[in-house]
Symmetry: C2
Subunit: 331 residues, 2 copies
Amino acid sequence: MKSSLAGNSSAIPEQGLVAGVDIGGSNLRIALADCHGRVLARCNTSTKGTSSPDGVIALIEQGIQQLLQQSCCSDRSLLSVAAGAPGVTNSQSGLVLATSYLKGWKDVPLQQLLESALGVPAAVENDVRMAALGEHWMGTARGIDDFVFLAIGTGIAAGVFANGHLIHGSQWTAGEVGYMQIPHTTEEPARPGEPGALESAIAGDGIRRHWSRLCAENAHEQKLSATEIFARASGGDLLAQKVLDHSAELLACTVYNISLVLNSALFVLGGGIGVSVPLRDATKRVIKERYNEPSRPNIVISSLGSDAQLMGAIRLAMSTASSSSRVESAL
Amino acid sequence: MKSSLAGNSSAIPEQGLVAGVDIGGSNLRIALADCHGRVLARCNTSTKGTSSPDGVIALIEQGIQQLLQQSCCSDRSLLSVAAGAPGVTNSQSGLVLATSYLKGWKDVPLQQLLESALGVPAAVENDVRMAALGEHWMGTARGIDDFVFLAIGTGIAAGVFANGHLIHGSQWTAGEVGYMQIPHTTEEPARPGEPGALESAIAGDGIRRHWSRLCAENAHEQKLSATEIFARASGGDLLAQKVLDHSAELLACTVYNISLVLNSALFVLGGGIGVSVPLRDATKRVIKERYNEPSRPNIVISSLGSDAQLMGAIRLAMSTASSSSRVESAL
């Protein structure tokens, strides 16, 4: 069983603390939480120039030390840590198999490195699945056992819950929907390390490229981020509306195709672009007009926003502490 | 938990028997099996003219009686029955919610009807998921916890296993991939009761329509079934090869899109068209040429063929007998 969430948080000692870590491509975020998962302290730091595994581990160690001191807690109160990594992650063996964000990470034993550095049990998970875990625990998907967290930012990827458990797949790549082939995406074969067909069209670069192309054709102002373009579309800018409509059509089709496979009750949109209200509204409109059979998925914006991964990491750390205390008491 | 397979077959009494039923659009197949799942006797009958729930139940009752007599076993040796239905089926409540194959079936309490008629515990499941259960138990997917059974015949649908369990979805429609939107399918909105975009192109009618169109343009012989067209393609017929290539491109893209969501280790092709060797070979070729990132799914033909559903029904009946005997011994 590959689910990351088997433990029961109530088994954690009352004075115990856990740490959740969100390793991003450029930022590292750490939160310290009590036995009920309440965040006591948190910190953010940049990983720019420190993307080696040892460098990142050192930053995590320093960060947790700092948060423990800030909260007037001793090192001994830390029971466990969990970290989300931006790449293909084997949560069973604790290895980050590959990532395009942290250069040079290949088969990195992240779980083992964390355990050695911190002296407590650790768990690791892919960042998007970690965010899904967070949404299931205390976000929009609380109590919903069949849902998809869809992260749209520089890329697009899904964290899938089915039957109340995360789906990882046979090679830990479930949810890598950036390669999906839908109408109006390129049919060119995907090249290793390059963005997939859908990702090229709907994630950050693709949206900006579409906008630049339209601007060049219409002698219009350029250089806006995807969310700025979508906001401008809401304000009535016709060129921006074209970009928004196209993005919404691609996203609606993606959501629909995934929902045909899984019949998920809910799609939670996250990531820098995914949380755009105009994008959600336009996508819901397309879904309503076009995709009714056999069922119409509900689409909402993540209520945890950029904290989804960190909350997931806290949840995973809590279940890690819980399983580990059960193992200890059984010995 | 919605998995259909929770029980342990070893808990069935040694003299006990179970019955598996495969309710098709035009055929009803029944098998009687011993406590190890070995088939003792089987029968097929037509459901033409007898598609009402009561009529089908009467056919099942007669069939099982006949098989018990044939095997010189008393009615009392029957411990349970499980039936696969060709439509949206809630395996928890035992209702067939809707089916386009058996006219008039809507919210039919199939489980309850079977239990009343036969006096033993019953279980029901969607036919394609039942076939996946069969493949997981004793077919090509034995021991594989992440795989997809893809049935291609008059329609196309998937039975999905993830983390070793069947996925049903929030409204019991997981795997209804006939509506999937991929390049070269229509983008018209799906109408209730009508075939979906993918189904129109890749299932029986769509393949025959493609063939007829090419034949009309080329003054060629007409009226062949999809498998006959594919066999002719293998023999070198250029028009048939065009149809095969197009079908293989659509199927490869479908398999790829599903595998991106689930990262399934294996796709098992079943159904009248799915078991075509030329189609499998051509699809594997397209996958190899075009779809490598992030992983390439393996594609095989069902080893159980048209028995997959019946074997799944036996497996489900065994686990139903087992759970029921556990409940009884606990009372």
